[in-house]
């Protein structure tokens, strides 16, 4: 029997959806390994232990909650030290993180501290004897690698949205713990986490992403994209590099090779040509819709559904129709 560790991310004192996915993945892996336990670690400000109680619903046998007033923001050094110590003393077969800005920062540090390797952006995993075999996109997603991880614990970070959080209730015993180092002693301190804009959904979590490109012509026209996103109700806003370079949107909204990698249920590309570097960040979305006035735009090659037309005409009509459709739900 082998236990599996899951790191659950929090932001602004809330459990992130990617954390539920990490626990779900750990549950699946523990079951493949033969009835192992899942232990989930979460760090956050006072109150996080109570919020983390729900992790039991997703298959955590034990929730380890580290509460500290200095942990409202992410602390890379506290998280690394606490996770590495816990993983070492717990003797886990595997440790699962998320491929987010935070997980990409944390998982390699923890792995190096444990003297093992790391694979990020994992699409799926399997156990074969002593090996953990994972699939991982390479060359900006143009090649899929099957990798054998021989070290133990195997440290992996899952791509967001490839595993849906699934109910699988376990004991979910909550234990509180101290940070492994004093947060005040950290040499790296996050002084502020600034949300991109009024209550906007997180790009790594949103089931729907509405992304805009240069076809919108000007910064103020991004309102069309925001309106469509709010019509869906569960959508985040993304952008191309053309748009973030021109300062219409912050760089944190950029999707693509050098921006965020996303795979939502639905991706709506508005006035986006579909350059290879953009496709690299979103081609694994489950359903892709494209609206572009050029019928030969490369985005239509990856789109499940396309409308050839002017965004200024099509998007307001779509926003209205989506709003109507959701009303009758």
């Amino acid at each position: 029997m082998a236990n599996v560790f899951a790191f659950v991310e929090s932001r602004a004192g809330e459990v992130r959806k990617v954390g539920l996915e990490a626990v779900t993945a750990a549950r699946q892996l523990a079951d493949k390994l033969g009835a192992g336990e899942v232990h989930a670690l979460i760090l956050g400000p006072p109150g996080i232990a109570e919020k983390a109680r729900q992790l039991g619903q997703y298959g955590a046998d034990l929730v380890i909650a580290v509460e500290h007033a200095a942990l409202t923001n992410y602390s890379p050094e506290v998280a690394t030290a606490t996770a590495a110590e816990r993983i070492k003393s717990g003797g886990y077969r595997a440790a699962i993180f998320s491929t987010t800005a935070q997980g990409r920062d944390l998982a390699p540090r923890v792995a190096a501290r444990l003297g093992v390797s790391v694979v990020t952006d994992v699409l799926s995993f399997d156990v074969e004897g002593d090996l953990l075999v994972v699939r991982h996109p390479m060359n900006i997603g143009k090649v899929i690698a099957t990798l054998e991880i021989s070290g133990s614990p195997a440290v992996i970070a899952m791509r967001p949205n490839v595993i849906s959080p699934a109910q699988n209730p376990k004991a979910g015993r909550v234990e509180t713990a101290q940070p492994a180092i004093d947060p005040e002693s950290a040499r790296v301190k996050v002084t502020e986490t600034r949300q991109g804009g009024g209550g906007k959904l997180d790009l790594a979590e949103a089931p729907v992403i509405v992304a805009g490109g240069r076809g919108l012509k000007a910064k103020e026209n991004f309102k069309l994209v925001e309106d469509l996103a709010s019509a869906f109700g569960n959508a985040a806003v993304g952008a191309t590099r053309a748009v973030t370079d021109d300062g219409w949107r912050p760089h944190s909204d950029q999707i693509g090779q050098t921006g965020r990698l996303v795979s939502p249920e639905l991706y709506v590309a508005v006035g986006i040509s579909g350059a290879v570097q953009h496709l690299a960040g979103m081609r694994t979305s489950k359903t892709i819709v494209a609206i572009n006035k050029d019928k030969d735009a490369p985005i239509f090659k990856v789109a499940d559904y396309g409308i050839v037309g002017d965004v200024f005409e099509v998007v307001p009509a779509l926003t209205e129709a989506v709003r109507e459709a959701r009303k009758h739900h």
Partner: protein, 250 residues
């Protein structure tokens, strides 16, 4: 300031890749190679710091076969002072193996700052920078898109998913560079001439046993051909219908 920048030679991604006959590597025939974009931004950041801080020097380090000397020369022609090739037959996938070899070289260097790219597009793993930081015991900030250094203290900004983090750190430190920090300069003719005379040291890389191996590479399945629903706003009702009944996302 003493600055090191770790740089990787990577293929141009704007091609259709072919899998090699061993099914576990990329067929490199006809591929064009250059410095990883993130690493070029890291070199640029180092050069800007050097220009601001008299008496600084910038060392670039690349692990790989002799062809990486071309990439090192490019960084030298941008303005770096010296290069180190950690010679290996090939670049392993395993980030820990690379990080161990780099940290062996870096630990004796007494660097104030060690810069990496956020990620290399070929491995797409983003592991080597933070792993090297851990092995050296240095503070580390990953994926920075702004940087300010004054009196041995640094501040930086990181882009999260739809949010930004503002970070303070002490030196010496390891930083990994995201897009948006700067625009990399092109080597000038004078720079290219000067680079030919700059020192490029070749040493064997200390390659440890990898814990991650590539079993197989495949091209992903093509997305099944989509369809144009129609033209203009008239196509909207059918699209919404399809999203409800076929894609079931609405």
């Amino acid at each position: 300031m003493k600055i090191a920048v770790c740089i990787k030679r990577v293929p141009d991604m704007d091609v259709r890749f072919k899998i090699g006959s061993d099914n576990a590597s990329i067929d490199e025939t006809g591929l064009k190679f250059d410095i990883n974009d993130f690493d070029a931004w890291a070199v640029e950041a180092a050069l800007q710091l050097k220009e601001k801080n008299a008496g600084s020097d910038v060392t670039v380090i690349s692990l790989g076969p002799d062809v990486v000397q071309e990439t090192i020369r490019k960084a030298l022609s941008m303005g770096a002072d010296k290069g180190v090739q950690l010679k290996a037959d090939r670049v392993p996938f395993d980030g820990l193996t690379i990080a161990k070899a780099l940290s062996e070289e870096l630990k004796a260097g007494a660097y104030d700052l060690i810069l990496f790219g956020k990620m290399s597009p070929d491995s797409s793993n983003g592991a080597v920078g933070p792993m090297t930081a851990e092995l050296l015991g240095f503070p580390c900030v990953t994926a920075i898109s702004s940087l300010e250094i004054t009196n041995g203290k640094g501040t930086a900004k990181r882009e999260l998913e739809g949010a930004q983090e503002f970070v303070e750190f002490s030196l010496p430190a390891v930083l990994t560079v995201d897009e948006g920090l700067n625009a990399a300069r092109y080597p000038s003719l004078k720079g290219i001439m000067a680079a030919k005379k700059k020192p490029l040291e070749v040493k064997p890389a200390q390659i440890s046993n990898p814990q991650v191996r590539v079993r197989k590479l495949e091209l992903p399945p093509e997305r099944k051909a989509g369809r144009i629903v129609g033209e203009g706003a008239a196509a909207v009702p059918e699209l919404v219908q399809l999203l409800q009944t076929e894609a079931k996302v609405l």
